[in-house]
């Protein structure tokens, strides 16, 4: 999963599945606050991302995340060999 669009699409699908968020509402600039995703939700999301990329998201990276685009960046960086 290194293709940016593919990662983004996967993330949108996860958001819909986990939080009933309409993908049409989401852009890379959308913040998690705007999507009303709280800290417990974020834990769910991290667990699912971990299953997908097979790598743990370091807590420091996790804390930096504000927008949907930030998650795409982190996932891409972690997926690089």
């Amino acid at each position: 999963m290194t293709d940016r669009d593919a990662v983004y699409a996967t993330l949108c699908r996860l958001l819909e599945e986990l939080f009933e968020i309409d993908p049409a509402q989401v852009t890379p600039e959308t913040t998690f606050q705007e999507l009303d995703i709280d800290s417990i939700d974020a834990v769910d999301l991290v667990v699912r991302l971990h299953d997908l990329i097979g790598k743990r998201i370091p807590p420091d990276d996790f804390r930096q995340i504000r927008t949907v685009g930030d998650v795409v960046d982190v996932v891409q960086r972690l997926s690089r060999p």
Partner: protein, 260 residues
């Protein structure tokens, strides 16, 4: 005149609260807790705390600071349940601690550093809401031991007229444990010690508080089993928000003009 007396009674109540806290947590508890094995001490502290709060709410009633009325008291009896309440005033927790048996409350972490408050929080094993990753396991453990978990899903004191926006942790905890939710609606007329009100503001007339205990909500019956937890928690939270907004509307339409 009446208002002046009520001011005096209010100031006296703060004194009674402070002295009572000193007496219970710096004298009675340390002198008696040793008779209980360490694992049983938080539950013992909670029994002590409940007795002290019962005395205190009754004291404030007898001295005319307020009057309160509990509707549906029998619904509060029981253990291992998630009790949610709206949070208009500082006194909400005083009432709930007086009425709810074996109550563990999820509290703002900053309260642990408040003099006279931090110590009972630690003795009773109340849960500091500082991190959702530690909140969930602590809440599950308390419920499993049969304690009742008190949560204010508004997070902090909120004016009664504000929109109903709940945090999802209460729903989440209930869904994960299968513990029933008992919704409690608190109404102050007029409001006392609400957000932005200072301790020495004594209302024009004596506040009447109604504590309404709603019917138990079984999370498993409200939610389909197949839903992901995150979706179920969202829906259950909306269900609770609707319940409180209905309560509030019914209440507002019942209120006599000018006494809202």
């Amino acid at each position: 005149m009446e208002r002046g007396l009520r001011f005096a009674a209010t100031v006296l109540s703060y004194l009674v609260y402070g002295l009572g806290a000193l007496l219970v947590w710096w004298l009675i508890y340390p002198a008696t807790a040793w008779r209980h094995p360490p694992a049983a001490r938080p539950a013992y502290a909670r029994r002590l705390s409940r007795r002290a709060f019962r005395f205190f709410v009754e004291w404030m009633r007898r001295t005319g600071v307020w009057d309160f009325h509990l509707e549906g008291a029998q619904r509060l009896r029981g253990r291992g349940r998630v009790i949610v309440a709206n949070h208009p005033s500082f006194l909400d927790i005083v009432l709930l601690f007086a009425f709810v048996e074996d109550a563990v409350c999820v509290v703002k972490p900053s309260l642990a550093r408040v003099p006279l408050v931090g110590r009972p929080i630690r003795c009773c094993g109340h849960i500091l809401a500082d991190d959702s990753q530690t909140l969930l396991p602590a809440a599950l453990a308390a419920l499993r031991q049969g304690a009742n978990l008190i949560l204010f899903p508004q997070g902090t004191r909120t004016p009664p007229e504000a929109a109903w926006r709940f945090q999802r942790s209460a729903a989440r905890i209930a869904l994960e444990t299968g513990a029933p939710i008992v919704p409690v609606y608190l109404r102050y007329r007029p409001l006392l010690l609400g957000k932005g009100q200072s301790w020495h503001q004594v209302p024009e007339y004596r506040p009447a508080v109604t504590v309404t205990v709603g019917a138990e909500i079984d999370p498993g019956k409200v939610m389909d089993a197949g839903l992901p937890l995150s979706v179920a928690a969202r829906r259950l939270t909306r269900h609770l928000e609707r319940l409180y907004s209905d309560w509030h509307e019914r209440d507002a339409s019942r209120a006599p003009a000018g006494r809202r």
